[in-house]
Symmetry: C2
Subunit: 355 residues, 2 copies
């Protein structure tokens, strides 16, 4: 705890240089670890900087070297996102930062206001050059932002796939693997009529999830029934709606796959209201483990992964595409699908065997 208090206010590197009676250039070199400086004077400079609490002004530095040492993570605080994600982004952020910190890169989150077009918002942020690189999330199936970023020649990576992504770097959860595993498991338990919930197919996730589902059924020789695909929001409310739809079907499915774990709360509720017990009368598999999954009754069968580590991977993918860091993170993996593991609960292991 050796920073100042009784010292004159630190105005900039100039005062620091005067205080040390060294030229301003040498001070800068000393602070930045440049070679042309005596090891002893470097020590003096660093000590003085620490003592006077000097930190380089970011604007000056950025202006000169055209770099900000800041990475932006763009998120959208849409109503959907707010209701739906259980701090997914905060967890990813932790992983990202653990990598960025090693290079003195700071991560900031850029929340796009929900009354502003994400494309326009991003354009503004890019133009202001407040960040060196960007991570965009909540990718749409067709997402103009990729073109924008490519044209602006600003390094970026995406959290989530998109049709527009081309050869650009991204990382995403293995939705395909999840739905495959879920279907396999349910089929092994004797199910043939398996419903699935998914968001609108505009969202890339909605498309991928259902496609995986279709192929998985095909693999088992089960016909794909469009009526069993239920589009709903990824929230408790959405889960309630899904159950509603299920109950409306003339021939009720014996199993349902939820794309978001929170939905189980609403789904359970609606099923209970109808006297249907999850895990006994109908099998439920949820996607993505959350703390509350194991507190549901019956505990939800779902899929676990380390979102933090996904952030680590994504950070490395991004850095590997930044000229200044690409020598550290070789460009081997530029696109990655992040695996999840099944966590068996009791929501799908019911005693009633189908027919």
């Amino acid at each position: 705890m050796a920073h100042g208090g009784k010292h004159p206010p630190m105005k900039g590197i100039r005062q620091l240089a005067e205080h040390l009676d060294i030229s301003i250039g040498t001070v800068s070199r000393a602070l930045n670890g440049k070679p042309d400086v005596n090891e002893e004077t470097r020590k003096r400079v660093l000590a003085a900087a620490e003592q006077l609490g000097y930190v380089a002004n970011q604007s000056g530095r950025s202006l000169r070297q055209g770099t900000t040492n800041v990475i932006g993570l763009m998120i959208q605080s849409s109503k959907e996102t707010v209701e739906n994600s259980d701090n997914f982004f905060l967890t990813v952020t932790g992983g990202l930062q653990s990598v960025f910190a090693r290079h003195n890169l700071d991560l900031i989150m850029l929340p796009c206001p929900n009354d502003e077009d994400p494309y326009e918002y991003l354009k503004r942020m890019v133009a202001r050059r407040i960040v060196d690189a960007l991570i965009i999330s909540e990718t749409q199936r067709i997402d103009k932002r990729f073109d924008l970023l490519a044209k602006a020649k600003i390094p970026f990576a995406a959290l989530g796939r998109s049709l527009s992504i081309g050869q650009h770097p991204w990382a995403d959860l293995d939705f395909d693997g999840v739905v495959n595993c879920a279907v396999d498991r349910l089929v092994a338990l004797g199910h043939r009529r398996i419903a699935i919930s998914a968001p609108s197919s505009d969202i890339n996730l909605g498309f991928i999830f259902v496609e995986g589902y279709r192929r998985a059924l095909e693999r088992h020789g089960i016909d794909f029934e469009p009526a069993l695909v239920i589009r709903a929001k990824s929230s408790e409310q959405g889960g309630y709606q899904v159950a509603d739809e299920l109950l409306r079907l003339e021939e009720r499915p014996t199993a349902v796959i939820l794309i978001y774990e929170l939905m189980a709360i609403g789904l359970y509720r609606r099923l209970m209201e109808a006297g249907i017990i999850p895990g006994r009368d109908i099998a439920v598999v949820g996607f993505r483990e959350a703390p509350r999954a194991k507190f549901l009754q019956p505990p939800l069968t779902c899929f676990r992964t380390s979102v933090h580590d996904l952030g680590v991977e994504l950070a490395e993918i991004l850095l590997s595409s930044m000229p200044a860091y690409s020598h550290i993170y070789p460009k081997t993996k530029r696109q990655m699908i992040w695996p999840l593991q099944l966590v068996p609960g009791e929501s799908d292991s019911f005693h009633l065997k189908v027919e």
Copy 2:
């Protein structure tokens, strides 16, 4: 959609000026709405800027005028926060932005890595002068950050109270009102032994909540029993623990107040395991309404508020303390307690009357 494509890459205001054959100073004045410029040339400049996609470089501007037009919201991605808050901050962010947008202020989120001391992190951010003003959240009961910000003379406001806050601006939820209302209601229903859950009293919230609880009991002539204060994490797991503790008590309380709605999930679960039905055998009141509260069985009695509007208030409080905006937002309210309303569920309206 009139921005460039076939134009030469926009390097800066200088190119724009050459393209228009106007001096660089005039262009700047035109863009910034300064008075000394002919209305017609201003139009020309604005049109050309739009067409060529010119946006002022933030570093240059910041360096010159010592202002960034960016407001920072510091959050902490601690494990506790991640498990606990259901996108509370994203919602607040929406309210903040709706105000900031009116003044061309951008909001960025500064997530403090969980392996870094929040104080040091903040110090770094302040020194780098990446933001004009700051909002800090998750205030501790004793929080050195207030001194830091005051000394740095950077405008700030706090989301959450603190002992260290002095006359600084803040906004906070009305925890006191909530616990008062909850106790009143439970007492009116005939309860005398009311338990309460709260986080550690290091967290300011933990202290305030329990103090309000103590005073409310006093008002009703009920003795304060330390054993009925259960410290637990604000998560499903925490709720489970609370129920555990309740069951361990020799004389079981007839009601319990939860400080966080999510805890109800774990609490319900543990109670059910013990054959105790919430709403019939024990009354439960939760704090802060969340989408899932109404999907619990029985629906949770809890407290509702517009977190978005809280953000609006907080933004205005902050701006009123910034010299550049204090003429717009008069300094009437610098500290504000945000009210909540009771949303009756069925978790406390049980038929069994106490003795």
